[in-house]
Symmetry: C2
Subunit: 123 residues, 2 copies
Amino acid sequence: MIDFAKSGGLVPAIAQDADTGQVLMLAWMNREAYDETLRTRRACYFSRSRNKLWRKGEESGHVQEVREVYVDCDADTILLKVKQVGGAACHEGYPSCFFRRVEGDGLTVVGERVFDPKAVYKK
Amino acid sequence: MIDFAKSGGLVPAIAQDADTGQVLMLAWMNREAYDETLRTRRACYFSRSRNKLWRKGEESGHVQEVREVYVDCDADTILLKVKQVGGAACHEGYPSCFFRRVEGDGLTVVGERVFDPKAVYKK
């Protein structure tokens, strides 16, 4: 159903807040992550940096409960409508990873932090 | 500002309707496409299949007027808030490319066609 072959096994997956419509983040899925997401109804991605499955929220507790899954016309991008537990999808503590707006030659922070990353990720 | 090097020169760009919040499509940008988008305030992508700049709407007239541009925490994904001229982002005539929802083992069409692709793309 999804064309994983096209992009070397990984397709982009957009997570959107099911209630507010806010775009929360973009991550990647391989077939295994996609299958697990459908089965568990919790967002599971594939981390390109760690090269393994990434069960979103497994460390922070900020899981994404998946309400609906959409596929685009080319079947090579996934859209998840989710409930973001904890209110923040971004590891920097913002509701959305897109918390910076391009303005002129710079970036302006427009989001407000929901949590302090240092307190949540005790590394 | 954008980390184009990370993914071989291309980063995913999400287009979201500025008014309704609907996620319209995902495409790709190289630095040139990104620069042109900022300069012209019209979405310009890079077509992976045609291997060249893709000025969205250049054939159909359904351009995307760019209202705001966001960058994610890793600076490797772009979010455009746009006004979609013509009301349909998808070449298949739907407002959004994500017009199919995963239900059970299949896909259900949930969008309604705004235009007939055959009438718009006279090929």
